[in-house]
Symmetry: D4
Subunit: 238 residues, 8 copies
């Protein structure tokens, strides 16, 4: 071992799990938070020339993305609110859709991380924002459209009551993502998380706090059985 | 000091705050949990002959109450589900009412502790049980009657979503009591407590877990300003 | 209100959400823990004559079930390890299956609560027990069979590493149920819960601690879209 | 869905609950923390031309407010300590008042958020600061004036003993707001919160940490029953 | 090693720190909780013949003490409420006293454990019970007597506001003992503990939850400097 | 699946990892807590006839062991304090020893679970009990003997200061086991656990609360490299 | 009320408890953290002309102090490491001393806050730093000098084992201050706090995390009884 | 005492435990976090001239190191990713090696802190990064090489499942270091910590969160018994 050598080759130490898409239908993604600016720039540059394997960057701060050379930025579809970037998506399925429903606009980053990841995974996403239960009429107005999706992702912070109310109204698979919105007893999303796990509506699968990406993957696992991608299409990717 | 003397006189060591009713409109109550069977029996016996000052016992287990001599039991209005007992109530107000609304029948002890204490404090109580949000129609059916009360007490465990839904539908003062119902992340009521404190509906005062008694007292404080008891009536009590 | 009246009619106060099955494809169930022996006996008696609407009792301790009169016990399919009882199941689907995989035999109650609820909801369940990762060969031996199910439920306590290992090997929808197995830092299942939520394998929906019932409902929501029950079959039930 | 479109129209995604005032007597407010500078500027600009519907901004940092163009700043009544802004208040009631009592000057932001919101909701507020119990004479000196208000809001951090002392001295409705003042075991306000919820004085409704806004809303709910606004006045607003 | 041998000699494995009194002025005590009935009986029997070295047993449940042979019970001064026993005390000092003040009678076990340990350590103790701040007059009535002691021990649960109020009124050394009285957010005494540590009154030393014994030892450490025992008297003991 | 079949064959569902000893030098053990009396009796009976593969039962309560038929009890070496049982140990190594050092006799169960497991794994154990740091002389007296062992296991609750003191005095490998001894802030061993993990003495490996078994296994892993068992000896076992 | 008026007079809202020194022997101090730069500058300016009443500022960051005009800085005795400032101390007692003992230099801020406050309160302080138990010889070398003080303040973070070791070696009153030194399980000082409260050495009074000021006040309360200040000297101050 | 004097001599207050290497085979190290830039610069300068006693600096941020004068930087072997620096290592052993295995590249700082400290302590380190269990093949590919080391250090965050999987595959001593990688329920490493402590694989010693240094020390303690350094070599160092 030589402690120095870690610095010599930029992406050394990284063992990409390139077979993940073939194995579980979900390609590996790059979680950017906690990675150094240098590492991220190197990765974004490397993958910008990538035309076959789609790759998704999550939690990619605008300030870092915008510091890249123009020509690299141009290679990516970057979305500032959701902090996501990709060069291209997986082949789009022509059937099925996922509804992403949020309690408030403050849940925006997570809501759109979920929606963008759904799209990236080749599935149609429909977003319904700001449907918090303190104004029930907002749910009533949209319930029919929401219930027509194949999978529903609920994004909410604070008391996360939206999960229980929707969970009692629709029969579709539901994944709930707590967010770190709020202060005091919101406890960085822990209250929303516990509230969703303890929901009085049955059969809701819960994700880590702010994990919109994970909810999209969970939805994609359902699409894997509901509208499976053909083996040939799958092989074209990785 | 003589360590022994604590045992000699039965209720020694207890400094009742008999002026509390005159001072804040709420007579002192006896919280029975954690008190020894001997102490409770002595207190119940002592106060059974009390005809002027009403006294309320809370968290009085049926097993202890039923171990009292018949003639003492007869002096009390005991209610097993709510674990409450009193000899007589404060004079009943002829105006005003409190709605006590619960999410599930498992919240029964706390729901009825609140309702019974409201009655004991001389106020009309109306109980609406099992209105959990997973079946929204139950709230819709009852909302008009609930909204017609002067104060609303909400009793719920788990995700406590009922507080947010009702809080967005009525303009009356609301006190929310989390309950320890549930398992795992319900965490003995901590999740319901945090959920209520973080409610997206504004202006809900929250009580300690399972504290139906406290919610009734909070409601009575409002009655103190809304329908004040005359000084003469007040003096008759303590 | 009359505090007394709660005792007069046995199941008073309970507002069953009988429309739940029609609405969300999941009939209401009775969570027995925390309910008094009297209430449970009354409910079990009442529903034993029920031939149309299936009803599921969870967390029903053997000691209570066995204290019922013979003729009532006979009406139920009771399973002691899982603490579940029902008179009959929903109509069985002829397609689809759910794999229920556990890390250890100590997870038995939750594992079989999940499996039994899956069956009750009319879906085939296959149980694979004791596949903890400390002996990886046990997973390797069974992975192909597990991966052939439509939905996978993982039940594990302690470090809950099974969720991450399986999540990296199969592409099917996965719901993970932490259990309260263990001592010290197992913290009644909180560690397994957090571990599953933080899993390095993407797209796993997590349930409350020991909530095998919930995982089965989540699986059923997927069956609702994958192999939907015909409206006529549905109407026959509730 | 098009992930991009969220950026096109500035306030898109926001579903204001404009009917809230008519429904529950409390107009919606804008919680500014966590919203981007751009969003806030857009909102402040939009609502500055608003002459009919009052709107309240809370947690609006001076640094953001002062970065607005002069002419927009002039449209608002902004109060730096409390971080609140509004163009105009609801019609002032000519009866009733709320006492806002704090334990220390470090509780200032929350204390004045409560007082300013009370004013905004059309109710007279009287502020009593720095009455911590370590110098009891400060309470004694002011108790009569405090007790003469219709509702009392207590704002305190650390041990929050002020709530128990005042709660034992006055009969009026009390809402207690814990603050995040202090260090170490103050735990960001969690200790004050728990202390208030466990208060030995009965009938105190507790709010989330630092939630002066919520306490004011709770007080307004009482004013809704004590000195109701006429339907015609109400209609003039929203 | 022989795993068996632990059972052969009754008190084997115990290394009494007999020099502790000479070293730090506090003899070792026996904390009985968690020790088996057999071990305790053996210890109580062994030390009953002890006439020179005083020994204190704390948390000794009445049920265990009363199961001892008459003649051994007779050797001890046992006090049921405080769960303490000793054969004789250290020599009584003729100067100095400790006031033990409690918020409620439910704090009795801890209050009297403190008082009895003070006595055991040869110091005069004065007990003032049930002075909770919700009835401030109770403190006012007793404050002069309390302030005349050399050290003050405060015993309180729930919000533990008594510590702050007394801490702001007397200049003497104060030790505060939180108790596990209460439910819900009382959290087994954690709230009282945090509240005392965060007290707005300065200079209060805090003990572990329910640790009346420790507070008495802390008071004795002060007596060690204020009214030191002569070396000869000290030598007579151990 | 048939929910019933779980009851038909007694040890069904259990997939023993019989290759564990060959693979990692540690045979599987049976953790008895949480297993039903029936299951344990069946397992103890089954393995009592086992003469080749040693098996260890931990957390086996005396009350259960003593309810077995005489002839089965006789097959086991059972040790009540440590709640451990085995039919025979692994072959004893003729070199190397492990010192098991405890802070107090209340740590006895865990101390002896560690010592007995060390013995079971074929290693000599030396036990030093009751060396808490409040009487430093007890450590000083024994330090040389402790330091002569090859591995040191420290068992302590409360503040667990023993780990830091010993860790600063000896150079040998150290494993520290926190115990759940104590009350209040001892928090069931969490404080001792955190204290050991934060020890100012470097290089101490920490185990779960009360996990004497684990510490013994960790010591055995060191013996695996220090005094390896020959392949032939190893093959004789499993 | 007028929300604006809070800004008009600089120190408005502050109700100094000027009688505190006369009442409890401890003058009020100013905790600077969380106060705005403007407020602090105004206070430091106001009190710089104060020649009779001593005042102590704690947690006063160097950066703020150094931004004051030269002539105001000159009026204060400011100590950067401890973040404390005062114009002059209380009259120095000619008897008695307090030993302040720390486990590591990283505890410096708190250690010197304690020592400086002791001095400010008119008591001699002796500081012993970096005596962590991992190098026991450092304690052994200094124990005699430490034991000769009248009161001992122990400052330590991480496992805080120093409190238990010293507590077992000296008979003097001891106050222990946990510090937030460390990372991970040090949990901002919570582990040191719990460790000190659970100390196996009896009679140690514990303070809030990093509260060197409080420990000094606790020591001064002892000096109040041990070497009381004459009434005339006391009157000269406030 | 003079509060000022702490600033006069730079390293005053620091009592280095220079005998630690002789005593326990591990020289003292300097933990840089929380120390002021001035103190660190002074220490780095002082020890740069040190040619006999090796010294290790951990958590030394690049920004601070790079602010040192060139000639001082040149004296140190600094490694930015691991934030470690030393002038020279302890004499290298010619036998034995430690495998450092990480779950992800985000664990890099801790992984390399462990590896670098192992080297500094004179032991060969082999690093295996990014072997997270979601791609099991990565473990399979490397297991033989990992298993050939004498001690294995596992570094992982999130669910830390790698510890359990490796723990079930190798018989060597294992130390596991949780990392603070992740968000939400990762809780700054608390989940990984608890998961490792609760691992279903037996005999894993766990370190504090991010404590790569400690794991290396623990490994060195084993080398102390496995390949002891000769007394003469040892004496050459300190």
């Amino acid at each position: 071992m030589n402690g120095e050598m870690i610095d010599k080759t930029s992406l050394q130490g990284i063992l990409f799990d390139h077979g993940r898409y073939a194995r579980i239908g979900l390609p590996e993604a790059v979680f950017c938070e906690g990675k150094s600016r240098e590492t991220l720039q190197k990765m974004l540059e490397t993958y910008s020339q990538n035309t076959q394997n789609p790759i998704l960057f999550t939690r990619l701060h605008a300030e870092i993305f915008e510091s890249l050379p123009e020509e690299i930025q141009m290679k990516y579809d970057y979305h500032a609110l959701s902090q996501t970037a990709y060069t291209h998506t997986l082949p789009q399925r022509d059937k099925g859709s996922v509804a992403v429903v949020s309690a408030g606009t403050a849940d925006g980053r997570t809501t759109w991380e979920a929606a963008r990841t759904v799209e990236y995974l080749g599935i149609k996403a429909c977003v319904y924002e700001d449907l918090g239960v303190a104004g029930l009429w907002r749910i009533v107005t949209n319930i029919e459209k929401i219930a027509s999706a194949d999978v529903i992702i609920i994004v909410a912070g604070l008391d996360a009551a939206l999960a229980s109310v929707l969970g009692g109204l629709v029969e579709k698979p539901i994944f709930a993502v707590p967010t770190s919105v709020g202060y005091g007893v919101a406890r960085g999303g822990e209250t929303a998380l516990a509230s969703m796990l303890a929901s009085c509506a049955p059969g809701i699968g819960v994700m880590n706090i702010n994990n919109g990406y994970g909810a999209a993957c969970a939805a994609a696992r359902i699409m894997n059985v509901l509208f499976p991608v053909s083996a040939s299409a799958k092989n074209m990717v990785s």
